[in-house]
């Protein structure tokens, strides 16, 4: 517990400084935030065009799709905001600059990820929250205390799934010289997350449910609020899936960190 408090305190100290430094480039902050805002809405535009010609997508209405998408945006925000340094890992590894992360008395993943805090991800989070409120009002979802707690728990585990999937792909850089194909694939796959899994063919649905479980980033947990009567028991296990995947990811990261120094000169 004392360790956790210490890390939290450290995190705030580092990020406060980081944000202060970024804020000196105001134009950069504004342009990237505006860009993030519109790219967040782009998928929504696709839905809107789609639903001009169809009434429902595999039985899901436009507003339900907006809800799933809003859930998705909130669930991927922690990765965007807190873990954004993952993009640079393969460069650090290839150029040898990754070595410095071994020399501080800190957890290495914490130290590595603390070097980046993605401000524009906050825009995404805010748009997601706004859309979630809007869609649930339109859908007349009543937010009892139990539902709100369920929402927070499922969002948390969905965020864990998202972080785990992307970081497992990122860790390929520890063993593969050019790891972009692996990371690119994981990054691309998450774009399927805000769609009903039922629109996918058997093999894809199986993959997205059991192998690269991006179905758990948005669609499956959203069902708890949209169609609670149809939910399969597996969905209730989603917090466990999130924690298990995150643990697996951390184990792979540790293996990577240990094997990396072994090959240096």
């Amino acid at each position: 517990m004392r360790t956790l408090a210490r890390y939290l305190r450290l995190y705030f100290i580092i990020e406060a400084q980081y944000i202060k430094a970024r804020m000196q480039y105001r134009a950069d902050f504004l342009v990237s935030s505006i860009g993030m805002f519109f790219s967040s809405l782009a998928t929504l535009a696709v839905f809107w065009i789609l639903f001009n010609s169809i009434n429902d997508l595999a039985g899901w209405t436009f507003m339900e799709m907006v809800f799933i998408y809003a859930f998705y945006m909130i669930a991927i925000s922690p990765m965007q905001i807190l873990f954004d340094h993952f993009w640079q890992l393969r460069f650090h590894i290839r150029q040898g600059t990754f070595l410095k992360y071994y020399f501080r008395p800190l957890n290495m993943m914490f130290y590595y990820m603390s070097e980046m805090f993605d401000l524009k991800g906050l825009t995404q989070l805010l748009v997601g929250i706004g859309l979630l409120i809007y869609a649930s009002t339109q859908l007349e979802i009543s937010w009892t205390a139990a539902r709100v707690i369920l929402l927070l728990v499922t969002l948390f585990s969905a965020a864990l799934v998202q972080v785990a999937v992307v970081l497992i792909a990122t860790c390929a850089a520890f063993w593969v010289v050019d790891s972009w194909p692996v990371l690119g694939l994981a990054w691309k796959l998450r774009e399927f997350a805000p769609y009903p899994m039922s629109i996918f063919d058997g093999a894809f649905r199986f993959t997205f449910t059991y192998i690269i479980p991006i179905g758990f980033v948005a669609f499956y947990p959203s069902q708890l609020f949209l169609r609670p009567e149809q939910v399969s028991p597996l969905v209730y296990a989603s917090p466990l899936i999130g924690i298990a995947l995150f643990a697996l990811m951390y184990w792979i990261w540790t293996q990577g960190v240990n094997s990396y120094t072994g090959t240096g000169s």
């Binding site: 305190r9 400084q17 430094a21 020399f103 008395p105 800190l106 120094t261 072994g262």
Partner: protein, 340 residues
């Protein structure tokens, strides 16, 4: 008790023998054809608290591998290693608390932040109390003039200023041992001198043990009373720096560019030098880089000016540089029994 104790320490790596071409790369996927590289091969050494030791050797000698084992990020294949009585790799985080590390070319400070903020973050990371922090910052101010740089972003510092900041930062938490890796690489003479004096002051004031890896014999001569020369994973020499510098300080290399250089030039140069100065004249000729001919001279036996004059008169030389002896040359000479 020794601060660092190393006995029969080895680190071997298994490396895949790679084949050429695309087909080869594909076959490599299923290959079990490994060879063993003995990066560190049975070394023994003891370092006492407060020492500054020059740890030198050519590229691939095993310096970084040893340092990685001392810092606890690499587990030895065999042998024992203790730092401050503890096995480093058993607990990397505990180990990190008692050491400082500086890389010559890469800063470990926060690139976008003002210098002082980096120090404040380090204060939190290493749990340095306010009184110690203030006292140390005062020492750094006196030695380096750090205050002037406080508000500057690390990215805007010159290489020399950044190095001074990095070195100061590595001493902030009062470590038992600091590893300096090529601290003067790429710096001009005046900054080099400044860095050497700062390091030697910090060692004197704080009593911190310092392990210095460098390609610059000048660093070793200025800072270290003891030198360890490593090559191919083995210790070639471990003893007083004086012994090495008295031997190699006298060496200079003339780098020459000669007009109409061809296959016969090198041997004709050798013969003419032998004819003029005798066989046992301490002058050797080699061509390592293209276009440049290296003439290494032991000034104790033959004056450099005589050799230069003679060559200038005899050969159409159009460019000359005089450099101190390189690390590779030192190692070669040690092999040939120079320190025997």
């Amino acid at each position: 008790m020794s601060l660092i104790h190393i006995q029969d320490l080895s680190k071997h790596f298994k490396i895949l023998n790679r084949r050429q071409g695309l087909g080869g790369a594909f076959r490599d996927l299923f290959s079990g054809d490994y060879r063993t590289v003995r990066a560190v091969d049975g070394i023994a050494l003891d370092i006492q608290p407060g020492e500054i030791v020059g740890y030198i050797g050519p590229n691939g000698a095993g310096k970084s591998t040893t340092i990685k084992m001392m810092t606890g990020i690499l587990k030895p294949t065999a042998g024992t290693i203790t730092v401050n009585g503890q096995v480093p790799y058993a607990n990397r985080i505990r180990q990190a608390q008692i050491m400082g590390v500086v890389f010559g070319q890469r800063t470990q400070l926060w690139w976008d932040l003002p210098v002082i903020e980096s120090f404040k973050i380090l204060k939190e990371i290493y749990r340095v109390d306010q009184a110690t922090f203030d006292r140390h910052m005062e020492v750094f101010e006196k030695l380096v003039g750090l205050k002037e740089l406080y508000s500057q972003q690390v990215r805007t510092l010159s290489l020399g200023q950044r190095m001074l900041c990095d070195i100061s930062a590595s001493f902030l938490h009062n470590p038992q041992v600091v590893f300096l890796d090529e601290p003067t690489i790429g710096l001009d003479v005046s900054i080099k001198a400044k860095i050497r004096s700062v390091v030697s002051e910090l060692n004197r004031v704080r009593g911190t043990t310092i392990i210095l890896t460098t390609h610059d014999l000048g660093d070793v001569e200025a800072l270290c009373r003891r030198i360890i020369i490593l090559d191919k994973g083995k210790i070639l020499f471990d003893g007083p720096t004086k012994k090495v510098t008295s031997l190699f300080g006298a060496y200079r290399t003339l780098k020459l560019q000669i007009d109409d250089f061809d296959d016969t030039t090198l041997s004709s140069l050798r013969e003419k030098l032998a004819g003029r100065f005798g066989r046992d004249h301490g002058v050797t000729v080699a061509s390592i880089e293209e276009l440049w001919t290296d003439v290494t001279i032991d000034q104790a036996r033959t004056p450099l000016s005589d050799v230069l004059n003679f060559i200038m008169k005899t050969f159409p030389v159009f460019d000359v540089r005089i450099v101190e002896i390189s690390m590779e040359k030192v190692v070669q000479q040690v092999y040939e029994g120079a320190l025997g």
